[in-house]
């Protein structure tokens, strides 16, 4: 089973990298972009096929190291 962890700065926490990308898109005349957030994606290959077990374990990983929950939110997708 594969777990995909997406990590983004929390809403309300200014994202300087997203903002810089937004500026660049504006400068390149791409119109209609209202907001840009930049995050990171961590892909984990797991030995288990048990979804519940995987969810629990990956949540623990996200809380303890993958994300810094002072400033970041995360989502977990299992496939």
């Amino acid at each position: 089973m594969t777990a995909i962890v997406n990590i983004f700065l929390k809403e309300g926490v200014l994202d300087p990298q997203g903002k810089a990308i937004h500026h660049a898109l504006d400068a390149m005349n791409f119109e209609g972009v209202e907001d840009v957030r930049m995050g990171k994606q961590i892909v984990l290959k797991l030995s288990t096929d048990n979804k519940e077990e995987a969810q629990k374990e990956v949540e623990k990983m996200a809380e303890e190291i993958l994300a810094n929950t002072v400033i970041e939110d995360y989502t977990i997708e299992l496939i």
């Binding site: 926490v13 200014l14 300087p16 990298q17 993958l66 810094n68 002072v70």
Partner: protein, 224 residues
């Protein structure tokens, strides 16, 4: 004679400058490799120096916090031992939860390396006891992730408990935006005032001929 333990992680690069600084101030020092699980017995101060531990992978300081030595540092701090984190050391201490808040990418995305003036906000702590309140200090900064963030509720507590140590300012003491930090914060301490963290490098400000010796009175406070 005070004994200072200086941690060394893969990627730490201010360990020898920090050793030089504390030896110049009359201390004995021990460099402690991160794989060690214990600090030397008679240590008076632990310094987590600057650098790029683990190449800043994942987040600055995120991986270093799981090094074996960090358990010993947490115990030491819990028992009231004094801990100082400089630059990457500050990032490691926030990641480890020993200091509040977090350090994000600088607002302009640049790595900033220059002398910077800053104002002493609170000196009711060991670290800044030798400095005057509102004193302006000139200390080098060198970081890409120094944009201090703390949410509003915790900020209020930080301010009320006099945990804000320094703010980036101009020479008149007015706050300036350097890296996007909440209210221009450059350094904070924990509630018990025994764990300190700052982005500026006091160990690089020891000689007038090299630009400033304002770092001396900071470091002196911790070994007084």
């Amino acid at each position: 004679m005070k004994h200072v333990a200086i941690l060394q992680f893969p990627g730490t690069n201010c360990d020898l400058d920090t050793k030089y600084a504390f030896e110049k101030l009359g201390c004995t020092t021990t460099i402690v490799w991160h794989k060690e699980s214990e600090l030397p017995k008679d240590v008076d101060l632990v310094v987590v120096p600057g650098g790029f531990s683990y190449g800043d992978y994942l987040r600055s300081g995120a991986i270093a916090k799981f090094s074996p030595i960090m358990n010993a540092v947490e115990e030491f701090a819990k028992d009231g031992g004094k801990v100082l984190g400089i630059c990457n050391g500050f990032q490691i201490l926030t990641e480890a939860g020993l200091l509040p808040g977090a350090l994000k990418r600088n607002i302009g995305l640049h790595f900033i390396s220059k002398f910077q003036t800053m104002k002493v906000i609170n000196n009711t702590n060991d670290f800044l006891q030798k400095c005057d309140k509102d004193e302006i200090l000139n200390i080098p900064i060198a970081h890409a992730d120094g944009n201090y963030y703390i949410d509003e509720e915790d900020f209020k507590e930080l301010e009320a408990n006099e945990q804000i140590l320094l703010r980036y300012s101009n020479e008149k003491g007015e706050p300036v935006v350097v890296n996007g930090s909440v209210t221009s914060i450059a350094g904070v301490c924990n509630k018990n005032k025994n764990v300190f963290g700052l982005m500026p490098h006091p160990e690089r400000a020891l000689e007038t001929i090299l630009g400033s010796k304002d770092g001396i009175k900071m470091l002196e406070g911790l070994i007084a």
